[in-house]
Symmetry: C2
Subunit: 273 residues, 2 copies
């Protein structure tokens, strides 16, 4: 059972636990016409992480909703890109924080235009003053508890495409809406899933690509001082909508822009229908 | 400007940032007939913490909503107790996590019956296996990001009234919906605000009472081993609805039940209209 709510035509119950406690998950999927980029990864992540939270949902039920959303929205966006958002909550019920033994999850489906994409030659990013904390039991899971990202994103400006949040030791962990990846001389560095607030679908895809190409990937946080060293060959931001974009300037420091990843992500190659 | 939503008559926009990101706050207020217990503390906290998040709301606007809620609901609950919940969100708008420069906050108002109150002679509580993480910039703030409390409360049973969550060092910090207070031989111990997920209104009231009575209060986390020592004279749970209740059994250990606080909270003494 799944209570599918179409965001453009109806509201959500004021008692929905997604609103009350952030008791749920979301996926933001890049669409190309009628196709969804990396759809299987998105849906598998939602099903897997829902199980961690104890929310019962199946991949076929999610696929049905995506299919219906394509039917309802794709034509309006023409052949170009758009964004499909799925919000899955535990629904209503329970006593306070304690969930009911059984509840009907809500799936809130919404479509929106593609945001402006960053220039492929790179963006400016900064260091967030808002620290990131990650619960070890929720690490990597794209839950609806995103107030830290909201607070950090208040530091964004028209010039600053992203800010990267640090852990309590001042190590770079992730951007407000992107994962980070650094190119060193003979390997790549990206923070490990267990230290991430959100382990992005694009991060997973890019890491799989690099590893399948025989590249060496080190999973660790990134010290800001590493970006100043001569063996830093570039810093990248990744998410499901923008793909992967180099950072040309970070916190006032000019960075080398390396085109090693320029062709790794082509959304048209990765659409599923 | 405040968009007041009555939970019993209308839904919330699917684009509300409270749902999308937990971008907001809430208060749970114990009502007695037409009066609200510790109302000024609740409303001041909401206004103060909204300012931290950058959500503009005034205390008079909240008071108006409480007054209207009393008009709408108090009669149905008779002269007895009921619970008023206020959920304040940043409303809709913005681009992804990044809020709009200006937005109209939502205030979602709901009324519910009093939950069963715990027996005054004490309750059983356990140790949660779900760790608590607190962002230093959000410590103590009753935000809508409460998934950790939801997950811990899945460990509750009919026999277990509460579970107490620990920090990464295994120190007791707070219950899923209560703050904790320990009585030692010549002083009281409660975790400091900067280590709390939620600094409860009842905790603030009880601490003010103790300090005004000349009692010594130490603000620190509580080691589970302290509860086994002979100078532990009792452990208490506190929140705005239940007041204060002793823990007679914690994680399989019988605790002394001390009536030193039995008269500190009488809701009828603290109603404001």
């Amino acid at each position: 059972m799944l209570n599918v709510i179409w965001a453009d035509s109806s509201g959500v119950s004021a008692t929905d636990r997604g609103l009350s406690y952030g008791d749920g998950l979301f996926e933001t999927i890049r669409m190309e016409g009628c196709g969804a980029v990396l759809l299987s990864r998105h849906l598998q992540r939602m099903v897997t992480d829902a199980a961690v939270l104890g929310i019962a949902v199946t991949e076929p039920a999610l696929r049905d909703a995506v299919r219906d959303a394509v039917g309802a929205h794709a034509e309006a966006f023409g052949s170009g890109g758009w964004v499909l958002k799925l919000v899955l909550t535990r629904g209503s019920g329970g006593r306070g924080y304690r969930p009911a033994d059984e509840s009907v999850p809500s799936l809130i489906v919404s479509a929106s235009a593609m945001p402006p994409l960053p220039a492929p030659q790179g963006v400016a990013a900064g260091l967030s003053g808002f620290p990131l904390t990650v619960n070890p039991r929720l690490a990597g899971i794209k839950t609806l508890n995103r107030l830290e990202q909201v607070m950090a994103s208040r530091e964004l400006t028209d010039e600053l495409y992203e800010v990267v949040m640090c852990d309590s030791e001042g190590q770079l962990v992730e951007g407000t809406r992107t994962n980070v990846l650094m190119k060193a001389r003979d390997h790549w560095i990206t923070p490990p899933r267990e230290q991430l607030a959100v382990a992005g679908i694009m991060r997973g895809y890019v890491m799989d690509c690099l590893e399948s190409q025989g590249e060496k990937v080190e999973y660790s946080t990134i010290s800001p001082s590493m970006l100043k060293r001569s063996d830093c060959q570039g810093l990248y931001l990744m998410n499901s909508v923008i793909g992967i974009v180099p950072v040309r300037r970070f916190d006032g420091l000019d960075l080398p822009v390396n085109d090693a990843l320029a062709t790794i992500f082509n959304p048209l190659d990765l659409v599923e229908s």
